[in-house]
């Protein structure tokens, strides 16, 4: 683990850009130049500017911004929208803006020269405010302004070395080339840290991405991370930035469906967990979601309902048909709808809008209905990343979330289209059971982390009074629902009667047999007793006879006077 030791030793300058410091484990290499390359409009200048302004305000490291493209005025104007007061910072000597203008038509080359002028300007700017950070944006435009690229290359190499000697944490931006990272091959000179920004459009949806191409002497996230340019500037959205360290709650919240609560250990979902409801079309996913939202509002908790399919009034109307009144909590301000077509903007922007809505409203319960609809604006892995981030974000805030997801009938039922099932704590599956010419809904709990839950399939019924779960018939004839269940139950009742009757008969039979047996036993005993009596009297007679004979003999002897 020699590598990890040096990681600790490598000093870093935090950028203060949300997410960026996490993926670089602390920021840019301190005292070294970093190259940021990307196409036009990819956010290079903004990244550099945020690095400087955050440095000046938060980390007490003044910075020099040397712009080769925009004037100081333009820069200041552009940054006002982000809430940066560049002029104020410049006035308080925390920031120095220097616009380097090179006009090819004004310049005539007449012999040898070097860029000492640029060096002096930079050095002067650094010294005048005691700068620790430098941004050169973008130094490549010198190649268009100065005639001799050989001198320029040699001088740029010298410039970067000079920045390093001065111990400046520098950001050098470069325009992306066709095959190389930068058009002029600046990556050859700046080799400590290279960050690539891109702005890609796939299926008409644009996503900005950031990647750390290399970071000498430090481990770093290697993925392409999506990032946003929003009202507060740049935000990188790394999954890994949110560690799995959120506190968990033992509190339970009702699902709004009493029988479902009892299936989930009698109490409902855990607070702050993620519930996934998946099923084919028309299985009642939105209704399950609505029941949960309704239960939250009844408890007096705030709830946001992101609807990607139906307008809010449509949801309100439809849910009234199953006895859920959304109008009251809406009026009370407990419930909020965000009905947006997914195609309205890209995934990242959706993520941002979800974040913003949650930050503003601070709900306890969030519904996203349905997440499968997002496939129209992104590929599966992107959606999974986005949802992971939403889930993490909500979990940290102890918000209970319910997603619904549409599965197509041909699919494996235990598979959601966007593959987030593993991220969910509780997973309810809704399905159709088609039997005997009718179609019935069924529900079961596929998983429920951390609680004892029923393994049974329940019939799921939408009534005008709400959602009801009924035990399905599970027997030798299979799983039966609806009318089939009722008829099977009637049939079984009849069979039961007959069986009971037969049993009764058998009991009676047995009783009579026992009586017969007992009568026989009595007869035998009587016979035996009679015989016994007879035998005994015979024995007595015989004994009497023997006694009598002996007596007679003795008397006769006495009479004969025998000796």
């Amino acid at each position: 683990m020699a590598g990890s030791k040096s990681v600790r030793r490598l000093e870093k300058a935090p950028t203060g850009i949300q997410g960026f410091d996490e993926i670089t484990q602390g920021g840019l290499p301190k005292g070294r130049p970093t190259l940021i390359c990307g196409g036009p409009g990819s956010g290079k200048t903004l990244l550099g500017m945020q690095f400087l302004v955050n440095g000046a305000i938060r980390y007490h490291e003044p910075g020099v911004f040397m712009s080769f493209e925009e004037t100081a005025e333009e820069l200041a104007k552009n940054c006002v929208s982000l809430g940066y007061d560049l002029k104020g910072l410049a006035a308080s000597k925390k920031l120095s803006l220097d616009y380097v203008h090179v006009e090819r038509s004004e310049i005539e080359e007449t012999g040898e020269y070097d860029l000492e002028g640029l060096f002096i300007r930079l050095d002067h700017a650094i010294k005048s405010i005691g700068a620790k950070r430098v941004v050169l944006d973008t130094v490549e435009s010198l190649f268009a302004g100065l005639p001799n690229p050989f001198i320029l290359r040699a001088e740029l190499r010298r410039l970067f070395r000079c920045l390093k000697t001065k111990g400046m944490t520098a950001v050098i931006t470069g325009e992306q080339g066709t095959d190389t990272l930068t058009r002029q091959g600046l990556e050859e000179y700046v080799s400590d840290c290279v960050v690539a920004l891109s702005h890609r459009v796939a299926n008409q949806i644009s996503t900005r991405r950031l990647r750390i191409v290399k970071y000498r002497g430090s481990i770093h996230g290697t993925n392409e991370y999506p990032f946003l340019i929003g009202e507060t500037g740049l935000t990188v959205l790394p999954i890994t930035s949110i560690r799995l360290e959120h506190a968990v709650s033992k509190e339970r919240v009702s699902s709004g469906i009493p029988r479902l609560d009892s299936m989930l250990g009698g109490k409902g979902y855990f607070r702050g967990t993620t519930v996934l409801v998946s099923g084919t079309a028309g299985t009642g996913k939105t209704s399950v979601a609505a029941a949960f939202a309704d239960a939250a509002c009844r408890r007096g908790e705030k709830c946001i309902f992101f609807s990607f399919e139906e307008s809010s009034s449509q949801v309100v109307r439809n849910m009234r048909s199953i006895g859920i009144d959304f109008q009251t909590p809406l009026d009370k301000g407990l419930l909020k709808f965000y009905a947006e077509r997914p195609t309205l903007y890209g995934l990242e922007a959706h993520l941002a809008s979800v974040h913003k809505a949650i930050d503003e409203f601070k709900p306890k319960v969030v519904i996203l209905d349905p997440i499968s609809n997002l496939t129209s604006v992104g590929i599966e892995s992107d959606i999974k990343m986005m949802l992971t981030r939403i889930i993490d974000y909500l979990k940290v805030r102890q918000v209970t979330t319910l997603f619904t997801s549409l599965t197509s009938p041909g699919d494996v039922i235990e598979q959601t289209e966007v593959g987030i099932s593993s991220l969910c704590d509780t997973w309810l599956i809704l399905r159709d059971i088609e039997l005997g010419g009718e179609r019935n809904r069924a529900m079961y709990v596929l998983k429920a982390r951390g609680m004892a839950h029923s393994n049974q399939i329940r019939e799921f019924r939408l009534t005008s009074r709400g959602i009801d779960l009924v035990d399905v018939y599970v027997g030798p004839a299979g799983v039966l629902t609806g009318a089939a269940r009722l008829s099977q139950e009637a049939l079984e009742k009849g069979q039961e009667y007959i069986r009971r009757h037969e049993l009764e008969l058998k009991k009676i039979n047995l009783e009579s047999k026992r009586r017969a047996m007992e009568a026989q036993v009595a007869a035998f005993r009587g016979q035996f007793e009679a015989e016994e009596k007879e035998v005994k009297s015979l024995i007595a007679q015989e004994e009497m006879r023997i006694k009598g004979a002996t007596h007679l003999r003795r008397n006769m002897a006495r009479m004969r006077k025998a000796d």
Binding site: D98, V100, H101, V102, E106, I107, E108, E109, T110, G111, E112, Y113, D114, L115, E116, G117, L118, I120, R121, D123, H124, L142, L146
Partner: protein, 105 residues
Amino acid sequence: MKPKPVGGGNKNRDTLWELRLYVAGQTPRSLAAFSNLKKICEDHLKGKYHIEVVDLLQNPKLAKGDQILAIPTLVRKLPPPLKKIIGDLSDTERVLVGLDLRPKF
């Protein structure tokens, strides 16, 4: 090779030429630039020029005003328009072109 100035000659014949040479310390290149400039001025603008030498090492602030990057840089402040000539001015032909003392081809 015409001995007489043409370009700059037809306008501003009598105006003063204000030239500023930016250097950074007494390097051989700066010294060469200055002596080359002096010679060219003596040959073509005798009596109506003024050379100001700015050493940026002593006055780094001045680099910003004239947008100086390369050293040495010669700036023609007057007559307008502003012209910049970079390098040690060893290529006399190009200096003359740059100063508008000789028409471009």
